[in-house]
Symmetry: C2
Subunit: 207 residues, 2 copies
DNA sequence: AGAGTTCATGACACTCCGTCAACTTTCGGG
DNA sequence: CCCGAAAGTTGACGGAGTGTCATGAACTCT
């Protein structure tokens, strides 16, 4: 009566291993949201499962590592959306606009790590070099270099361009999560305008 | 034979209090750089002074709090430089260019928290809302709103503009510290161009 | 079914933390 | 200058969290 369709293909051993791992991750998400990252102990996490304390260490080296796994799951959810948006884009403007729009929308609406994170000020470390995150950055870089190749964007330093985009994206994302009076659309339009035309092109504020 | 010129004005009590506090901060900077933030214990810090373990807690509540004090010292060093640069600026372009230039220069050349921080990947938390940091942000915001008032910058959302500037500044700062092949001047010109004219205005890469 | 492998268990030893009662130093009024 | 009060220092101690490991249970394969 398992919902895990892969289960038949695996032995029971592998199956419980996978389910234990997931149980720990789920418990961690729960407990982090409840107590905050700093305040939760490894024991708190394992207590929220039906496993014994020692078992935790068969799956993760530390609390930090579970957190990374959480981040990875989060990145795994955004990345396809960003990819789809990029494929749809026909111009550099659409590319930039779509990427910001999608990212901000995710941050605001998906009840992911971002939300619980910002509720706990100590968890400033939003970005962690988890495989999925790195892959996402790589994809962005490839597209930027393609844009440079094709002459749509001047032959600027791609590292600095990446840094600027990422910096703006995450910094504005913080505001989106922390405050309610900022609209996802406005934020996306703002960031897009900044990259396309600098401060002079910025949209006027609604009063 | 003290070098502390304020000492005569203070009683001995206050004097040792101040010097103990500074001793702890200095020891912390040292030890953080050596072991990394996560790996150092409060005991490590106090052991690097000639004080007893309990004394630490007369000055700071936790390791985190010493770290904040360090950050505050760092901010205290940049802020006057940024202020001077702003006063010198006669146009918005000079304002933006000068600010980025000064900040990047500080990050790269002042052997401050930034440097030790980047050597320890776990210390991603560069920004902390320490009094000096908050004051610095406030100053920036005032200038931005003045620029908006005077019509030099469109009437855009100042929060989003702040976020963009700060995001770009810190993200590029990370690259500056992490890598040697990026020039402070190039970075400042890049960021300035981005804000003044968007991607089309970006300087071409040196090959 | 039996030998072998893999994993779960929870008690244990260890580290670090923050406190506190006892002690030392400084202050200030007489 | 002296002495009682105030402020600060000390390190030992109780408590909490960590990661490990010997033991035993569960699964796999033949």
């Amino acid at each position: 009566m398992s919902l895990d369709l892969d289960a038949k293909a695996r032995g029971k051993r592998e199956e419980t291993k996978a389910s234990n791992r997931q149980a720990i991750i789920d418990a961690a998400r729960q407990v982090f949201a409840e107590l905050g990252y700093g305040a939760t102990t490894v024991r708190d996490i394992i207590r929220a499962t039906d496993l014994a304390s020692g078992t935790f260490y068969n799956y993760f080296k530390s609390k930090e590592e579970v957190f990374q796994a959480l981040q990875d799951e989060t990145a795994l959810r955004v990345r396809p959306r960003l990819r789809a948006e990029r494929i749809r884009a026909r111009t550099f403007e659409e590319f930039i606009a779509g990427s910001f729009r999608t990212f901000f929308d995710f941050v605001k609406n998906d009840h992911s790590t971002f939300a619980t994170m910002r509720r706990n000020p100590e968890m400033q470390r939003v970005r962690i070099d988890t495989p999925e995150v790195v892959a996402g950055f790589d994809e962005l870089r490839v597209d930027l270099e393609r844009a440079i190749e094709s002459g749509v964007v001047p032959d600027a330093d791609p590292d600095l361009l990446m840094a600027s985009i990422v910096g703006v994206a995450f910094e504005i994302a913080n505001h989106l999560v922390a405050r309610d009076d900022i609209d996802v659309d406005d934020a996306a339009k703002f960031a897009t305008a900044l990259f396309l035309g600098g401060v002079q092109a910025l949209p006027k504020r609604k009063r």
